[in-house]
């Protein structure tokens, strides 16, 4: 937190609306677009938070964000208090955390911002402080 925010652009406006709608319960659990996608190069080619979530994060956290339990667990993102900090998520994506690989290293700054903004406004949470690609760029190790 505390990084300088970019002025409101259209994408942020959409996110804000989505957040507001989610709060009022109109936009209940929008399912992530789940059309399978295959990237061509060394980085992820998916564009937009929904596609990134469905083809990357959902591999472990599951399409509905509820996680999965086996000999150990993929934690649920739905209702996860750690989503409160976008900066924490940025660091998580670049450095990984134990069993979670540093997936942000295979994404552009805009993609990292998109997927973070996506998870923070879905799965029952609706934080209204989206992170920008510039913030992400500043945090990239």
């Amino acid at each position: 937190m505390g990084a300088v925010r970019t002025p409101i652009d259209r994408r942020r406006l959409v996110l804000l609306c989505a957040a507001v709608l989610a709060c009022t319960g109109v936009l209940a659990q929008e399912p992530p677009t789940s059309a399978p996608f295959i990237s061509r190069g060394r980085g992820f080619d998916e564009q937009g938070g929904a596609a990134l979530y469905a083809n990357v994060c959902a591999a472990c956290h599951q399409p509905d964000g509820r996680g999965a339990v086996g000999a150990a667990a993929y934690p649920a993102l739905a209702g996860n208090k750690n989503l409160a900090s976008a900066d924490y998520l940025t660091s998580l994506l670049f450095n990984g955390l134990r069993g979670m690989p540093p997936l942000g290293r295979m994404m552009s700054d805009a993609q990292v911002a998109d997927v973070i903004n996506y998870v923070r406004t879905h799965f029952g949470t609706s934080y209204d402080d989206p992170i920008s690609a510039a913030d992400v760029k500043a945090a990239r190790p």
Binding site: V56, A59, C60, A68, V69, A72, M100
Partner: protein, 532 residues
């Protein structure tokens, strides 16, 4: 050797002495007659001498590391028992056969409907000849091996962006690439470009070697000729009777090979880990885990999910859920603990170890990998394309197609490894797909190389390792930095706990690493026990 003190006369020191006094040739002869030229970290069955006086060890995980520890400690007189999450032994050492069911994280269950005798090795599938410890256990436990074909000159190298997407025979790319290099180097040598670097006498020998190795003709050209055909094969093979003369084929040009990048595929056959001879167990890699488990009757508690590890000065207490009884919590107490759980799992458990060891446990992410097994009603790769075993490499997302190294020329059905993806975006993307989507995609890709896929496919199964409930990943992924900061801390004995597994080795993602790590861990543990 820089060691100035006079060391005891070991085999190695003896060799050093011979080397110093008699020169290289004598040294080499001595080495070969003493039985080794490269020093292996494996020295035959471990001998744990001294009485453990009834000490008990609880071992976590019945993978190859855990079972190696249990078998050898049991032999040395320890009371051992293993807690294992799955209802089978072996861990990543595993084969899927007809009748098996596999439920991945997320809940999707796949039923394997392969015919009798056919299988997929979802994890380990090949064994290098220099994995001596693993080979030794196979011999001791009666696991029959057969050759695993890594290099088949008649399999394909394929790029969707080169040669109009048509797969090329490894044999032709290899011969033509090496032939073109030989021609260039011969030309440069004969034009004097190497005069500064190579003496005239050596140049003569070099040219002779290039001609022989490269398949060059008498004018040092790599062209359609009897010489090149000996390496690249023929446009029309020699036959019998009338019209039987062979026809030499036109080599693929250097430019086309370079820009196709198919030469990259050749590296898969050159490196130490993949040089012939490689092996596989007859009937599936899972035969090894099954054989280890037979050596440990009654020692393995299945369906036991470890949830926490505590220790004090006198012993270790492991909490686990009995999965057959709705997760009822039980505890196991022992003097010592060999923990052979994957780090993806151990890092999430409450474990009483020192801060440096905990940091090490948390420091290693796991690679991502996906494999597919596809059963076809006809062995078309053998019948139509004369590919018997081996691997085709492609730039398509499936990356590999591997042909079975058994049951050749039998005319029946067969199971191909229809894809093997290791890291990169595609590994996660395939993991995110449903099992049905994965198979559909593997068929689309594979049909670009073998159009017979469309008509001959029967059934398939896939394993995405980040969805494997018992590992949550493929294998430990170390970097130079994490090795430097954490590896030694990971391998130390911490109070009464020592870790083992492929992640605690310098041969990660190989079964040999799991076994060598277990042998090293129990040797150190045993020393401590008998010294006490």
């Amino acid at each position: 050797m820089s060691d100035a003190a006079s060391p005891p006369l070991t085999r190695r020191n003896l060799l050093t002495l011979i080397g110093a006094s008699a020169g290289g040739t004598a040294m080499y002869q001595a080495m070969t007659s003493l039985g080794f030229a490269a020093e292996s970290p494996y020295r035959g069955p471990i001998k744990l001498e001294g009485d453990p006086k009834g000490a008990s060890v609880v071992i976590l995980g019945a993978g190859l590391a855990g079972m190696t520890a249990a078998f050898e400690l049991g032999r040395a007189g320890y009371k051992v028992r293993i807690l294992e999450y799955n209802n089978r032994a072996g861990g990543r050492n595993w084969s899927l056969r007809g009748g098996d069911a596999y439920t991945e994280l997320g809940g999707a269950t796949q039923h394997c409907t392969f015919d009798d005798g056919l299988y997929l090795n979802p994890g380990p599938w090949r064994i290098p000849y220099h994995h001596y410890a693993l080979l030794d256990y196979c011999r001791r436990f009666g696991v029959t091996l057969e050759p695993f074909i890594q290099l088949n000159h008649n399999a394909f190298l394929h790029s969707s962006k080169a040669f109009g997407g048509r797969p090329q025979r490894i044999r032709e790319i290899k011969a033509d690439f090496e032939g073109a290099i030989a021609e260039l180097l011969a030309k440069a040598t004969r034009q004097g470009a190497l005069d500064d670097a190579v003496s005239k006498d050596d140049q003569a020998i070099l040219i002779e070697a290039l001609r022989a190795h490269g398949g060059l003709d008498k004018d040092f050209r790599y062209v359609a000729s009897d010489e090149s055909a000996e390496f690249r094969g023929y446009a029309k093979d020699p036959g019998g009777g009338l019209g039987a003369a062979p026809v030499n084929g036109e080599p693929i040009g250097m430019h086309d090979i370079l820009t196709s990048r198919l030469w990259q595929g050749l590296q898969n056959f050159l490196s130490y880990d993949f040089q012939t001879t490689m092996f596989q167990p007859v009937g599936g890699m899972g035969r090894i885990g099954e054989a280890f488990a037979r050596q440990l009757p009654n020692a393995i508690r299945y369906g036991a999910k470890v949830t926490g590890i505590r220790q004090d000065e006198r012993g270790v207490t492991v909490a686990f859920e009995d999965l057959a009884r709705d997760g009822t919590i039980e505890e196991a107490r022992a003097d010592w603990c060999v923990c052979a759980l994957p780090l993806t799992i151990l890092s999430q458990l409450p474990v009483e170890v020192s801060a440096p060891m905990k940091a090490a446990i948390d420091a290693v992410p796991y690679s991502s990998s996906v494999k597919f097994g596809l059963q076809f009603r006809r062995r078309f790769w053998e019948e139509d394309e004369h590919i018997f075993g081996g691997i085709s490499y492609t730039d398509l997302p499936i990356r590999h197609i591997s042909y079975p190294s058994a049951g050749y020329n039998s005319g029946g059905k067969g199971v191909l490894l229809g894809g093997y993806i290791w890291n990169g975006p595609n590994a996660y993307e395939f993991t995110a797909m449903s099992p049905a989507e994965r198979i559909a995609r593997a068929l689309d890709d594979g049909a670009q190389i073998h159009p017979q896929y469309r008509s001959e496919f029967e059934t398939g199964i896939s394993v995405a390792w980040h969805r494997a409930p018992f590992t949550l990943g493929c294998a430990g992924e170390w970097t130079e930095e994490t090795r430097r900061d954490h590896y030694d801390n990971l391998c130390q004995i911490d109070g009464r706990i020592v870790l083992a597994g492929e992640h605690a080795s310098y041969i990660p993602a190989w079964q040999e690493g799991a076994i060598l790590s277990a042998l090293d861990a129990i040797a150190r543990l045993h020393k401590r026990v008998v010294a006490a």
